[in-house]
Symmetry: none
Subunit: 153 residues, 2 copies
Amino acid sequence: MSNISDLIEQYLKKLLEESLEDYIEIQRSKVASYFNCVPSQINYVLTTRFSTGHGYIVESRRGGGGFIRIVKLPLDHRVNLVLGICNMIGESISRADAIGLINRLQEEELITQREKRLMCSVIESKLQYLEIPVHNQLRALLLKAMVTAVLKE
Amino acid sequence: MSNISDLIEQYLKKLLEESLEDYIEIQRSKVASYFNCVPSQINYVLTTRFSTGHGYIVESRRGGGGFIRIVKLPLDHRVNLVLGICNMIGESISRADAIGLINRLQEEELITQREKRLMCSVIESKLQYLEIPVHNQLRALLLKAMVTAVLKE
DNA sequence: ACCTTGACTTTGATTGACTTTAACTTATTA
DNA sequence: TAATAAGTTAAAGTCAATCAAAGTCAAGGT
């Protein structure tokens, strides 16, 4: 215990709990200097403890007035389902499997018809520049991003 | 997060919303002194947040009695809508412009909050690990596919 | 294995010096 | 006197420098 990363993790989770919203906005440099560490340490904590796999979404903006926003996904069974789905998708997925999964989501009424069309259009768009293996990875990446995004609420 | 540019953006959008017309006319120097910033800051906001990519047209006149007119393009003529938007997107689009366009679609209530989040997640997903040389082109491709999927009907 | 650090990169915002344009005012000329 | 040219002032435009973040990555530490 009490390595800096754990302390920062606890600190951020406390902030999230105290927040009236389901998210917090921090400044990387502020948090870093509060903990007397280099700024990139914050990135380390974010990627190791606040990934989508852990039920968080991290957004940010650089430049003057930049910030990092940490969104906590509500942990109802729907979300668990989707986290499970993300796990299922893994690093790579075929076109057919992706479409199948999207159809499932729609049958379960987790997404609307329009959202299904939208997601399928992404999966099926002709990415003529890419090699096949990269294509499967790209699909997985995009699909997970999309599934996560529709839940974030 | 209270950088001046964001505040100016909000201010102008509010003016546009309150306006009875589909445009507003401002004086650069007035707005600048209202926000206590240099006049060219207004230009920065206009080019980064009110580009045609974002669905606005900016016209102006210099000299005595000069002004800047910001026209909000109605994105609502269903028939040519998809074609027009795809045209706007072109072969290549920056991350910022893509997000701006998606925001416009939502403001115009052509897409829902969830659909917006979904689309943004695609645009913002971290593709950097896959070695794709042409991010801007890929973005354009995906965005056009999504717009078409969700708006054609 | 996980954590910590720091050099380097990328993105975004702010500023100010300089340029261009348009309207107004005054002087000059047919 | 009316038309035109020249000068003055009041805008807006451009661009490059600088500042202010956050991101990446790899090397080293525990």
